[in-house]
Amino acid sequence: MSKLTTIDEAVADIADGSSVGLGGWIFYGQPMALVRALIRKGARNLDLVPTPGSIAPDMLIGAGCARSTVCVFISFEQFGLAPHFRRRAEAGTLKVIDLDGPAIAGGLRAAICDLASPFFDAMLAQASRRIIVSVDRIVSSETIRRNNHLIKLPSVMVDAVVEAPWGAHPTASPGLYRADERHLKEYVKASVSDETFGAYLQKYVHTAGAQAAYLDLLGGSRLAGLSVSESTLT
């Protein structure tokens, strides 16, 4: 049976109150197309388990989808503290479970080895009952075989695959596109009040709807400017 599905179908049976892992690494590979789909669906009371993250956990928290989150690191780095994570935690309306451990130290070693790849993802997948993967593109089995050293998750671990080009936007997808700093700043700026954040969600999540419309909204020249030329695939 094909594991290919659409974004909205992929998240359709994630029940309110589910525990949801979010992969990526701060401004790399945040599963934003799936996050926007969860917000559109009106998910509630999720317990988030993000790897070190930024906009993925923050947007779900800001949109009222989460009741708790694990926190290894949730921040907007040079753009400031994560606005909604901060606000809800300070208001006492978000339960935060702070975590640390040797795994995080390992992450720092990875960063030093210049492996900014979201390397906690394989661990996260092994710890999850259902795994939805959002990918920028689907390639032939031949390409996968030729680059088998790059395989992060073997297919047996994957339940559903969503092809969402630019699905990590505004964070980066190594080898394909950089983080969109302008958009990250726009998000932080929009997060100063419920009203402005509501307008942001309306524009980029609800009205835009499916990923194609989201990309049209961003515009071709904007996306072209974020593209990187080198690829990890041969």
Binding site: C71, V72, F73, L81, F85, R86, A89, E90, P102, A103
Partner: protein, 181 residues
């Protein structure tokens, strides 16, 4: 080997960092640092970004340095609200008694001066003050009693060459300059 698996095989005492440089929401008298919360964890006054790898860095790196971009009583506190990076814990030999390798915080750098830790009590001590800063000024901006031995020297300023390297080789995108000037 996959990195998550590799973690199990690393002997941190041998392979860990020589030193780390960290910032924080709060630092206390014994060099413990906090990036998690100011105030009560369940309803914090400030919610910070989290622990990241700070506990491992402060606990296991051979030594570490603390750099704060503000020197106020709210940042230099008697006791951090949440220890995510272990400094000298309760002072004296409490760090070693807790099972952590010796080392810990070596220097604290703030906009007012440079601080180290008195060898026996492990309490924070004024090592030098930046040009124009007085002992009274740094005392009133600090939330605990600093150790002051005599008249502290003036901090040696970076040389033209060092500044040139920082401005042209390190901060090539002028991120730091924009943020702190």
């Amino acid at each position: 080997m996959d990195l998550p698996n590799m973690i199990d095989f690393i002997d941190w005492r041998i392979h860990f960092f020589d030193f780390a440089i960290l910032s924080a929401l709060q630092v206390d008298r014994f060099g413990n640092i906090n990036t998690v919360v100011v105030g009560d964890h369940a309803r914090p006054k400030v919610r910070g970004p989290g622990t990241v790898g700070i506990s491992a860095l402060c606990g296991l790196a051979k030594r570490f340095y603390i750099v704060l971009t503000r020197h106020e009583r709210s940042a230099f506190v008697p006791r951090v609200d949440f220890i995510c990076g272990a400094g000298h814990l309760e002072g004296g030999d409490s760090r070693e008694r807790a099972g952590l390798p010796a080392g810990g915080p070596k220097l604290v750098v703030s906009p007012l001066g440079v601080f180290d830790f008195e060898p026996v009590s492990k309490a924070m001590r004024v090592r030098s003050l930046h040009p124009g800063v007085t002992v009274d000024e740094v005392r009133s901006a600090t939330g605990f009693e600093l150790v002051v031995n005599g008249t502290p020297p003036t901090t040696v300023m970076p040389t033209e060459h060092e500044l040139m390297l920082l401005r042209t080789r390190v901060d090539t995108r002028r991120t730091l300059k924009r943020k702190f000037s």
